[in-house]
Symmetry: C2
Subunit: 305 residues, 2 copies
């Protein structure tokens, strides 16, 4: 394919674009998160510890780049991206708890409960989840209250019992032996895919996009989200402690059913590449405007951590 020739340059441009958006998100989160004050100052400190200073910010990036592609307001997209990131971070804080995945490291630093204790980690997570909806309900998310209400509805569905939380429940309750490719595909569509899908839909809603835009972006999001998860499984096998920044090979050590254990390493890579093609095809109608979102597909497939 012709694109292969200029991929290194495009990828480099993409990575600096992603880093630039991540810096914007960091600054905006610092501004939008509660400041430590009063007798409950430690709560805001724990929320900030969890949300600031790390992360690729891929979800806000997708909100922002989708809104940009469709002509939406950049400030609105940044606010909505921060709301989505708050929700994503809360899920990490709760998933890391001793009664859940019991992880000591996240993004290369001690998890919230290791630093602030279990009770504060529960409450900081609750605070970040609540703050996500607060941000979506402010004028800064969108001047039209109908869009704000819709964003709240969509995020609650994506992050709720039939979406992300439901996916986590499947993940912690269904025995590894009972998992086949269909089940882990469904699990990941709920646990990871729902927020990716929300990111694209949010960008489209901010830009007052048409239903056919939302349908195309849903196809892109579903393929990208699953490719992302498969690549996670691939990295879990291929990665090493230094570049990933969390315990590697953990899934395999636990005899966990992953896309790699079910499809084999090559099978998983093929599946991810095929999903990448599906994602790219969904963006065909947008031509040049879709350049960044096309770059996101390459980034997801080629990332090393």
């Amino acid at each position: 394919m012709d694109e292969t020739l200029d991929k290194p340059v495009a990828a480099s441009g993409f990575r600096s674009g992603l880093a630039s958006v991540a810096a914007d998100v960091e600054t905006a989160l610092d501004r939008l998160l509660p400041r430590p004050t009063g007798h409950h100052a430690v709560l805001a400190e724990a929320m900030r510890y969890a949300a600031l200073g790390g992360g690729k910010r891929l979800r806000p990036f997708l909100v922002i780049e989708t809104a940009r592609m469709l002509g939406g307001d950049a400030d609105n997209a940044l606010t909505v991206g921060c709301a989505l990131e708050c929700l994503h971070v809360y899920s990490l804080v709760h998933d890391d708890l001793p009664c859940m995945d019991d992880d000591d490291l996240r993004r290369g630093k001690p998890t919230v409960h290791k630093v602030y204790g279990d009770a504060m980690a529960v409450l900081a997570g609750d605070g970040l989840l609540t703050h996500a909806f607060e941000l979506l309900a402010t004028d800064a998310a969108h001047p039209d209250p109908a869009v704000r209400a819709r964003l709240v509805l969509e995020l609650a569905r994506a992050g709720g019992a039939s979406g992300m939380i439901g996916g986590q429940v499947v993940d912690i309750t269904v025995a590894e032996a009972a998992r086949d490719t269909a089940l882990i595909t469904q699990l990941q569509a709920m646990k990871t895919g729902a927020l990716i899908r929300f990111a694209m839909k949010a960008g489209a809603l901010i830009a007052d996009a048409q239903p056919q835009d939302i349908a195309a972006l849903d196809r892109y999001a579903d393929a990208l989200g699953l490719a992302f998860q498969i690549q996670d499984d691939v990295l879990d096998v291929e990665g090493d402690m230094e570049t990933v920044g969390k315990a590697v090979g953990k899934d395999a050590d636990l005899g966990k059913a992953t896309f790699v254990s079910l499809l084999g390493l090559d099978g998983a890579k093929d599946k991810a590449r095929s999903l990448g093609e599906t994602a790219r095809a969904a963006l065909a109608p947008y031509g040049e405007k879709a350049q960044t979102l096309l770059g996101t597909v390459d980034f997801v497939l080629e990332r090393r951590h």
Copy 2:
């Protein structure tokens, strides 16, 4: 006072009214909560176990009666009341966790984590919190999206880091010895008062009320919420296991600073009565229409569990 004469009748009428609304809330919650389905069915079961089959439903009652007093739509108020109850119930589920208050009983039955385990209790709480915002964002909460967005904003603030969660943080982090009346008043205004205040404001927003209505209802809510908490402390000393349905005298056993320990039993009762007068005075402009909310003051001061 003249009201004293017919108080037994009024109180009886109030209690049947409260029970009737509680039954409506129970039916509506059963309809509005997710149904157990798929591999994550246990999540919806745990959410339903937590939310159904108990509770006075005082918060939804306040939404519904405030909306009724001001001419708001009853179905809207019921939906918003259910959203508020979901948020209240999530806070109970998380507060009961072993890493927080470590309670085994709630509303006379085993707590969610005792039945479903700690991880599912965290997730069921997360699900209920998320569902609260989903309900507020649906048409059933209000036909005007501007009102829906405002309801989301107000609930997020009331339930967030500067409201309920912040109050819980103060409660679990500030040493008993460091607590004076001013601190526990502030703590309760955040932990309990913020949701009571939201209940009244939500009823007013549903009814498209004026700013002076909201100001009057704020005064009522602040006084009622504090009186409710003081009465809780009084009941903790005076109650017995059978009528309260949870461990009694626990606060005193732990050497906990309460309104009773700080003001004495009589002092606490006087304070509650005085707050009752403040709450009643705030409703003076509404005359006969305020009968039920006036009855709520009597109910809060006279309740035995």
